[in-house]
Symmetry: C2
Subunit: 417 residues, 2 copies
C-alpha cells in the first residue's frame, strides 16, 4: 500500500481523488453532463471573482518583469471565461467513451468475452501558465470518468485556485464526489511527489516545454503520456503539383509558427522543377531559410544549414531546407531527425505516397495537406488534452477515448478449466 | 540523437535492431509468415546443436546448486523444441495486425482520415530462465513487425545463443533484415543500458518476479508494459449457486497454484448459507486457509489471517478467507488489496453482478467463471507475451495487436488551414 506520509504536499488531494475516482467510474453520462453544464454556468456567474484573482496574478507577474507575451497567456477577461465555459458545454455533445464495448465474442466453450472501456482512474496533469487548461483538463477528465490532479504554474496559482473553487462548488452541488478535481500546490516539489505517486496516480500528462517533459520522463515512476515537440518535415516529391506544394508548405510553416504542428524543415526532391519559386514564396512571406548547398543555389537568401538546423524545432519564422536525391534519402533524413509528431508529403505519384506513408514513423502523416491539421479539433475529436508523440497507449491527439483503459468482462455459467 | 557510446553492452545490437525495424515495418505478411515457417523448421533440424548448448547450461546450473524445479524450467529436450517450433507455426495462422484501419472517416472539409496500426519498432524483453520465451518472443515480435532485443538470464545464455543463431540464420535466409532479433549479454548492467536507451528502444516488457518489475519501473526511461502479479479475489455473493461457487472457487485456487491468474483470497457474503461446505471442500482439496473470525467460526482448520495475508500472492496451496457484510465491503477490500489482474464474482443476482463488474478496477472481471481463464490462449488471442496489469496501452493478455501502435494518415488535395 502507498505511504502517503511521503507525500506532504499532494497526499491529501491524491487520496481524495483516488476515492472520487471510484465513484466517477460508475457515474452515468447524464450525471457527468449535468455537472459540466452547471460548472459552465458557475464560471460565467462568478466571472468577477475569477477576474479579481487573475488581476492579482497578472499584477504580480508584471512586477516580476514577465514579458507581455507571457502576461497575455496568463490574462483572463470576460470573453475568455465565456470561451472556457463554452468548451465545457461542448463536451456534453461528445460521446461518453466509458462503457463502449471495444470487442466482444462468444468463445468456443460458451464464455462471453467483452472488452469494455473504463476510466483510467486518477490523471495528473502538469502544465504552464494558461489558466484555460485548468478548466479544459477538469472537463475532459470528468467526461471520461477520471479524477483530475492539476498542477499548474505558480504564476497562475491565484487564478487556478479561484477557478477550481468555482468548479468544485458547482460540481459537488450537481452531485459529483468531493475530490473529482484537485489543484495541487505550485511548489516545485509537488511535481516530484506527483511523479513518485505510483499506485495512487494512474497516469501523468506533462503539457509544457522540453525541459518539463525531460524531467517527467527521467523521474516518473507513474506511467506518462508524453505530449511533445514537433520537429515536422514537409517533403516535396518530384511528382508534386507546384500550386499544392506552395500552398501546403507555406501554410505548414507560416499559419501559426509557435505551435507543435507547424513545419520546421522542407525536403525537396532534386528533380522537382520549381524549387526556386517555392523558396522565393517562402522568403517573400518572411520566412528565414537555412539550407544545404543545392537549396542555396536555388535562392539567394538562404543561409547555410548545420545539423543544429535539422534538429531544431524553431517555433519561429525560420525553416531548414534540404534537397534530397530521392524519397529514400528523405525518409532517412526524417528517421534521423523526427520527433515523431507530424510528417507531410506533397506528391502526385501514388508509389511515392505509399512509400512515404509506410516508411515514416510518426503520430500523423499528411498527404497533400498542411501539417497544421494534426489537431484534435481538426480531426473531429472535439477536444484534446494534448498531442501524444509516444507510441504506447495513444499517439496523436488525446481525446476522450485516449483518457480511458479497458477491462475484460468474461461471463460464464460455472465455467472452470 | 542517442549517444550509443553510453551503451557498451547493447549499443551495437540496439542500432542493428533499430535499422531492422525500419525494414520490418513495411514487410508484407507473406514474408513474415514464410520466415516463421523457416525458423520453425530450422529449430527442429538443428535440435542436436541446441540440446548440446542446453546440456552445458543445465550442467553448470546444477554445479551451482540450482534446485531441480529451476533446472526443469531451463531444460530442453526434442519434444520441447518441437513445441516451440509448433508455436512459431501457429503464429502464421493469426491475423497480422499491421495495416489494420482502426478508424476512418471523411472529415467535413474533405480530408480522408485513417488511423492505421503500425509496429511499435524495437521491443526489449527481459525474462528469466525458460528458453522457450526466447523463441516465443522472437516470433511474436516478428509477426507484429517489431525488432526484438532479448535479455534472458545468465543461466540460459548458452541455450539462448544457440537458439538465436538458428533463428537468425533461418530468418535472414528467408529475407529478414539483419538485427530482426538480437540477444543481449546477460550481464546485470545490460538491463540498465536497455532501460536507459530511450530513443533507441520503443518499449520494454519485463517478464519475471516482483523485484525485476520494481527495478524496471524505478529505473526505466523507456516506456514499460508491466506484466505483473496477480493477487486475485473470488467473491461469493449471497445469491450464488452453491455448486457453481464450489467449482469456481476450487478451480480458481487449485487448478495451477504457481500462476498469476490463480486465486489468493476468497470473500464471502455473510448471508451465503453454504460457507462451511465451501471451506470444507477447499480444506479437503489440500488448501491451507487463513481467515477472519467469521470464517474461522465456519470451519475448524482456518488459521487467523492478518493484513499480510490480504496482501500476499501466495502462489501456493494457501488461501485467505474473509466474510463481508455486503458487496460494497467486498469492493472496498478488493480496491485496497488488488494488483489489478483478475477478480471474480459468483452470483445469480443481476444487480450484484452489475455492481461488481462496474465497481472492480482490474484487467479482467470473471463472472461465474474461474480466474484461470484470464489468458491469451483462453481468450482466443492465440498467443501472448504476458498479461499486462497496467492501465496504459494494453491491459490483460498481450497479443499481437498489443505489440503495435498507430499512425494517423490524413489525405487531402492541397488542403490548408
Amino acid at each position: 500500500m502507498f505511504d502517503v506520509t511521503e507525500l506532504p504536499l499532494i497526499g491529501g488531494a491524491a487520496l481524495r481523488a483516488r476515492s472520487a475516482a471510484r465513484v466517477l467510474r460508475t457515474l452515468p453520462t447524464d450525471a457527468k453532463d449535468g455537472a459540466l453544464v452547471a460548472m459552465a454556468e458557475a464560471l460565467v456567474e462568478r466571472t468577477d471573482e475569477i477576474l479579481a484573482a487573475n488581476a492579482s496574478d497578472v499584477e504580480a507577474a508584471r512586477a516580476d518583469g514577465t514579458p507581455e507575451s507571457v502576461l497575455d497567456r496568463l490574462r483572463l477577461d470576460a470573453g475568455r471565461i465565456e470561451g472556457v465555459a463554452a468548451a465545457l458545454r461542448q463536451l456534453v455533445a461528445l460521446p461518453d467513451p466509458v462503457g463502449d464495448v471495444v470487442r466482444g465474442s462468444r468463445l468456443p466453450n460458451g464464455l462471453e468475452l467483452r472488452q469494455v472501456r473504463v476510466p483510467l482512474g486518477v490523471v495528473g496533469i502538469i502544465y504552464e501558465a494558461r489558466p484555460n487548461v485548468t478548466v479544459d483538463a477538469a472537463g475532459l477528465c470528468l467526461k471520461s470518468g477520471n479524477a483530475a490532479l492539476l498542477r499548474g504554474s505558480a504564476s497562475a496559482f491565484g487564478t487556478n485556485t479561484a477557478l477550481i473553487a468555482v468548479l468544485t462548488d458547482a460540481g459537488e452541488k450537481a452531485g459529483l464526489p468531493a475530490g473529482f478535481v484537485e489543484l495541487l500546490p505550485a511548489d516545485r516539489a509537488s511535481v516530484g511527489e506527483l511523479l513518485g505517486a505510483r499506485g495512487l496516480v494512474d497516469v501523468v500528462i506533462p503539457r509544457g516545454g522540453a525541459s518539463l517533459i525531460q524531467r517527467v520522463v527521467r523521474e516518473s515512476r507513474v506511467p506518462v503520456i508524453e505530449t511533445g515537440e514537433g520537429n515536422c518535415h514537409v517533403y516535396v516529391d518530384a511528382s508534386a503539383d507546384p500550386a499544392i506544394a506552395e500552398s501546403v508548405v507555406l501554410n505548414s510553416k507560416t499559419h501559426r509558427v509557435s505551435v507543435c504542428n507547424s513545419a520546421e524543415t522542407l525536403l525537396v526532391h532534386r528533380d522537382y522543377p520549381h524549387l526556386p519559386r517555392l523558396l522565393a514564396a517562402l522568403a517573400g512571406s518572411g520566412v528565414a531559410l537555412h539550407g544545404d548547398d543545392a537549396s542555396r543555389a536555388a535562392h539567394d537568401d538562404v543561409v547555410p544549414a548545420t545539423d543544429e538546423d535539422w534538429a531544431t524545432e524553431y517555433l519561429s519564422m525560420d525553416m531548414a531546407v534540404r534537397v534530397v536525391d530521392d524519397l529514400p534519402q528523405a525518409l532517412d533524413h526524417i528517421a534521423r531527425w523526427t520527433t515523431g509528431h507530424t510528417e507531410a508529403i506533397v506528391a502526385d505519384s501514388a508509389t511515392a505516397i505509399a512509400a512515404f506513408t509506410a516508411g515514416v514513423d510518426a503520430a500523423a502523416v499528411l498527404v497533400n495537406a498542411s501539417t497544421r491539421f494534426t489537431d484534435g479539433g481538426e480531426f473531429g475529436f472535439g477536444a484534446e488534452i494534448g498531442i501524444s508523440t509516444q507510441k504506447l497507449h495513444a499517439r496523436g491527439p488525446l481525446g476522450l477515448p485516449e483518457l480511458t483503459s479497458t477491462t475484460y468482462v468474461v461471463t460464464g455459467r460455472g465455467h472452470v478449466r
